[in-house]
């Protein structure tokens, strides 16, 4: 128990360490309001005023106040174009675009507003954004005429002013047009230039805030989903918990101090029904998919070599017995190649969708996958069931279905093995098939010890296990996966015969 506990704590620490910086940012921002204060803005404004030569009328307090009061109060990027059109200095202008692109992303966002203050945002392909951005950047006058090349992205006609904004992780463009062919005056242009410097400040703040929020959401989600009760304390103040405080009993709480964060992490080591297994499951599937993919890549070449060589040897071979053996090598190397390819497709996230599959094929593949775990235990499918299975095609998620069958067969063989050599009769796994108007049913029977009545209602609970090395996740994952594919798992003891039968109902 102790070992399992500390392994989980290690895992949680690893989980947290990955995001230490983000976590720190999050908890700091909890204490300190992340919205920039008025004072901070004033300071930034002063700096830009000093840095840039300002045209005369900027010395009028009204313009600065306007920018400060209207642009500064933009809570999100979407409202900035409308706010710009609301400025007195640009009251003759009808269309404003603010296009923001995070460097390296395939798309940017094009926020715009027009004379009737209808604001909208659209995506813009990085290619188009970059073309517009570099045209703007290269231009000295920053004054353009709408042409066909920008037709789809800019909702304006005639002359427009554009100014690029370069930030650390983003590039942005401010575009302003009065939808006429009148060129802007030099005063308008100067005002526009000054505006762009202000917009740069505001969007930096908003983007930073968005980034922190995104990270926050990610961390909170991960922590909430963590399949243990976690509470994080800063000194004695609880700053995060994925469980109501009353449900944690002190005797079971592990208390760890994380020096990197100067925070206390409390983990309640309690198997609760609401503990989610999805995180574990996702990790397992991803790992398996990766592993199978590597295996396919590493094995497919030598296996192809084998089948090619056997083909060559076959064409030269005159000895009947040797030919048969070589034929056998050829057949088996091709079979190995097919098996590994099928499995890697099965666990490939790209093919992880609903597909029409043959039920027999899934059973067969799952059986192959369990071979090493249940080598000595014979598995029987009645011939008529087998024939019926071969004809049935269903639409489902083959990965999930195969995993359920896989788990049930592994469980069955472990149940049989648990009897050890004390058992008189040899264990057997029987796979049978039923169907009616509503569902197909796959039954997996073992000849193990069966399920004691006192644990019958617990066996699908996460972390419930009777095996010394079990994680207690197998059946809870099966149940969850079955729900996902609109199926149901039930079980019954085979009494008076030995063992238990698990039934998977796939609704039609």
């Amino acid at each position: 128990m102790e070992d399992q506990g500390s392994a989980r704590i290690k895992e949680i620490k690893k989980h947290l360490n990955l995001k230490v910086d983000d976590l720190h940012a999050y908890f700091l921002s909890n204490i300190k309001d992340s919205k920039f204060s008025n004072q901070a803005f004033d300071k930034k404004l002063q700096v830009t005023l000093k840095k840039h030569k300002t045209p005369d009328h900027f010395n009028q307090l009204s313009f600065i106040l306007e920018i400060k009061n209207i642009i500064h109060h933009s809570q999100d990027i979407e409202s900035i174009p409308t706010n710009i059109l609301g400025l007195n200095a640009f009251k003759k202008f009808e269309t404003c675009h603010l296009i923001v692109h995070e460097k390296g992303k395939p798309f940017g966002t094009n926020y715009s507003s027009n004379i009737s203050r209808d604001f909208s945002h659209k995506t813009i392909a990085a290619k188009n954004f970059n073309a517009l951005f570099s045209t703007t950047k290269k231009s000295k006058l920053k004054n353009f005429i709408q042409s066909d090349s920008f037709k789809n992205d800019l909702d304006l006609v005639g002359n427009f002013m554009a100014k690029e904004i370069e930030l650390k992780k983003h590039n942005a463009l401010v575009i302003l047009s009065r939808n006429s062919f009148l060129a802007p005056t030099s005063l308008e242009w100067e005002s526009f230039y000054f505006l762009a410097t202000q917009v740069a400040i505001i969007i930096t703040d908003i983007l930073d805030k968005m980034k922190i929020n995104d990270n926050k959401e990610l961390i909170i989600k991960a922590l909430k989903l963590f399949p243990e009760n976690i509470t994080i304390k800063d000194h004695n103040r609880v700053i995060f918990s994925n469980t109501p405080p009353s449900s944690i009993t002190n005797s079971r709480v592990k208390n760890i101090y994380i020096p990197e964060l100067q925070l206390q992490l409390l983990i309640a080591n309690e198997a609760k029904e609401n503990v989610t297994t999805e995180l574990y499951h996702a990790q397992r599937v991803a790992l398996l998919g990766e592993l199978l993919n590597t295996l396919q890549h590493e094995l497919s070449n030598p296996l192809f070599g084998l089948s090619l060589t056997s083909e060559l040897l076959l064409s030269d071979c005159t000895n009947q017995e040797a030919s048969e053996l070589i034929e056998h090598i050829k057949f088996n190397s091709q079979r190995s190649q097919t098996i590994i390819k099928n499995f890697s497709n099965l666990y490939n996230s790209e093919s992880n969708a609903i597909r029409e599959i043959n039920l027999y094929q899934i059973v067969e593949e799952s059986l192959t996958l369990t071979k090493s775990d249940s080598k000595e235990i014979p598995k029987i499918i009645e011939p008529e069931d087998l024939n019926r299975l071969k004809t049935i095609k269903i639409k489902t998620n083959p990965t999930y279905l195969s995993q359920i069958i896989f788990n049930l067969i592994i469980n069955a063989s472990q149940a049989i093995k648990s009897l050890g050599s004390h058992s008189n009769s040899k264990g057997i796994i029987k796979i049978s098939f039923n169907e009616n108007a509503n569902f197909y049913e796959i039954n997996i029977s073992d000849t193990g010890p069966g399920i004691p009545s006192q644990i019958e209602d617990k066996i699908f609970n996460p972390f419930f296990t009777t095996k010394s090395t079990g994680t207690g996740l197998g059946l809870s994952i099966c149940k969850k996966l079955a729900q996902n594919i609109h199926a149901d798992i039930t079980f019954k003891n085979n009494s008076p015969f030995p063992g238990a039968t698990f039934s998977l109902k796939l609704f039609k």
Partner: protein, 126 residues
């Protein structure tokens, strides 16, 4: 007689393909390492170069890039046939950029693959 350079580092594939091609009357030179292959390509004339992508030292794409010192892109598109077990989209895209024929390993039909390798008057890519 067609003179082929086969660049492939999996010994079983290399030996078998060499034998199979020789049976069809081709003269086959083999290389396992990309760097050795490059010096062959720059110093000898071949009618066809069959090149695996994942070699021990460098990639098949590197071999093709080096061959540009001697051959034009058009010549390369006719000379080279790429064989690969890793036909991901990125690999396919890159291979297509050379306009070469590309065969995925394992070959679905060995006879067909051999005739593609031996086709002397092939008019470039399809």
């Amino acid at each position: 007689m067609i003179k082929i350079l086969l660049i492939e580092d999996e010994p079983l594939i290399q030996k078998s393909l060499k034998k199979l091609l020789e049976k069809k009357g081709a003269t086959v030179f083999v290389e396992s390492r990309g760097k050795d292959a490059i010096s062959q390509i720059l110093n000898q004339d071949f009618d066809r170069i069959i090149c695996d992508l994942m070699l021990q030292d460098i990639s098949g794409f590197d071999v093709i890039e080096e061959s540009k010192k001697r051959y034009s892109p058009r010549e390369i598109s006719k000379l080279f046939i790429i064989i690969t077990a890793y036909s991901s989209n990125q690999v396919m895209e890159k291979a297509n950029s050379y306009n070469c024929k590309l065969l995925s390993k394992p070959f679905q039909n060995i006879e067909e693959a051999l005739s593609i390798f031996l086709n002397e008057d092939q008019n470039g890519p399809n």
